[in-house]
Subunit: 282 residues, 2 copies
């Protein structure tokens, strides 16, 4: 049981994390840090946090500081927090990229109090209103460079995530960023691009709305995601994302070529190959 | 209340249609026509159909013949059925393309007994086991060339779909195929291509499985769809699908270019533009 936890960012991930800690009775008091007063107020209203304080005071009273903000701000903010913490406190992040952060933290004197985590859960919504109870359940949480964290710090975070119903997976930061490009970042890019395709081509919004039962909704869902959260992810992980994106464009060109040449056999073969994803994703 | 309805095809759509008719008490007996004995047997076991008969006998005893099979077989099968029906019977299809079928039926002497319909509902599964209760609800059903159908035939189909909870939308066949390419067919192609991308690049199947919480599942869901059902759709609607596919590749290239040039502002702009889909898809 923590006396006090600080969440930096009061949105989808941090807010849902706070709700989970409260629901499990793992924390007495949650302090929220937000860039805007409106979000902080909303987070208090919604019961995500109990109070808001300046960062320094918040860190001073907290056993755990949990950072879930856009990844382009994470390095600066985590460093600021790490400069403040003692050997008894824990700092963890929930960001979608890990290489830049882990590299930046590598030589920090308090590196061992930091645990690099990425709970693989999310929705297309953002802000305090997006936080939900029972998030994270049944999903995986990646922990990077576990050996660089103090054992008690890593174990505390693992125990929390396990109590949230998550399965812990260990990776180094580079492997994390590579795999995340494949199974998360590219899905977001294709979804954003699909939304733009349809918005560009289909001028009859009523038709989109009325006919959207045909598979469009699930494919385009992620296109509602926040640019503030995702643009920095794509940029920080650009080499991996570009690599997968190039492959994806080349896979789409194969479909294009089948249709152009009316090569029915190859079209069928491409689709049968894609069906193999059934074995992996139930 | 129909004494007897024949469903041609005993899969996802026809099976769910039959279950809905039965659940609503709209039919006494459902005859199923299947290419394979195994599917027919399964459909009886699952209560989708009451019996199976040769097509001629099935049509002879049915008030309504409902065809939901791959669109490359639909024209031939519907023509065969239309050659058998009387002025009192109704024939309807549920196919994902309409131009080829409506053109082929245009001069058939019984054209007026045919109603071209496309209920915009589906899942990535196929076969009798894929049929579910309460399908179709809350979705739209497109009816094409309504004026070419007898009023009683069109009204009967509309009433059934309304009782299923569907919203009726009218379009000509060309408009249907164009809109279907935008909001359904392209989603399937991107999903198939995404599955192939990830299967090609990500050799660690465990990583896909473990990390798939990050948006991948919903984007790749449609890649599990049946080639037998979808390859003919893409091929019959190839001009429209190619047009949207070209646009989609060009939209993906914009993301690629942003990342290559580290053009953060334009990346943000593309994502904000995509966010506009929120206004259309809730």
């Amino acid at each position: 049981m923590f006396d006090s936890v600080t969440i930096v960012g009061v949105g989808l991930i941090s807010g849902s994390f706070s709700l989970a800690l409260k629901d499990l009775g793992l924390v007495k008091n949650v302090v929220g840090i937000s860039r805007t007063e409106a979000s902080a107020k909303k987070a208090i209203e919604l019961g995500l946090i109990d109070e808001t304080l300046p960062l320094k005071e918040a860190v001073a009273k907290s056993d755990l500081v949990y950072v879930a903000i856009p990844v382009d701000s994470t390095v600066t903010v985590i460093r600021e927090i790490m400069d403040l913490v003692s050997e008894k406190q824990i700092v963890a992040d929930a960001g979608s990229t890990k290489h830049a952060l882990c590299t930046a933290m590598a030589n920090h004197p308090m590196r061992k109090r930091f645990v690099a985590t990425h709970p693989m859960w999310g929705t297309e919504y953002s802000g305090p209103e997006a936080a939900v109870h029972d998030a994270f359940k049944g999903r995986s949480c990646v922990i990077c460079e576990r050996a660089k964290s103090d054992k008690d710090a890593a174990e505390t975070m693992e125990n929390i995530y396990r109590q949230l119903g998550m399965n812990i997976v260990y990776m180094n930061a580079d492997a994390h960023d590579l795999h995340a490009a494949y199974v998360s970042h590219i899905s977001h890019i294709t979804s954003f691009a699909l939304a733009n395709t349809v918005l560009e081509k289909e001028k009859e919004e009523d038709a989109i709305f009325e006919l959207a039962g045909g598979g469009f909704e699930s494919t385009v869902r992620l296109a509602k995601s926040s640019p503030a959260m995702w643009a920095p992810v794509f940029m920080q992980n650009r080499d991996n994302v570009l690599d997968v994106l190039n492959e994806h464009i080349s896979q789409l060109r194969k479909f294009k070529s089948c249709l152009e040449k009316e090569n029915y056999a190859y079209l069928w073969e491409l689709m049968e190959k894609a069906n193999k994803i059934k074995k992996i994703i139930k």
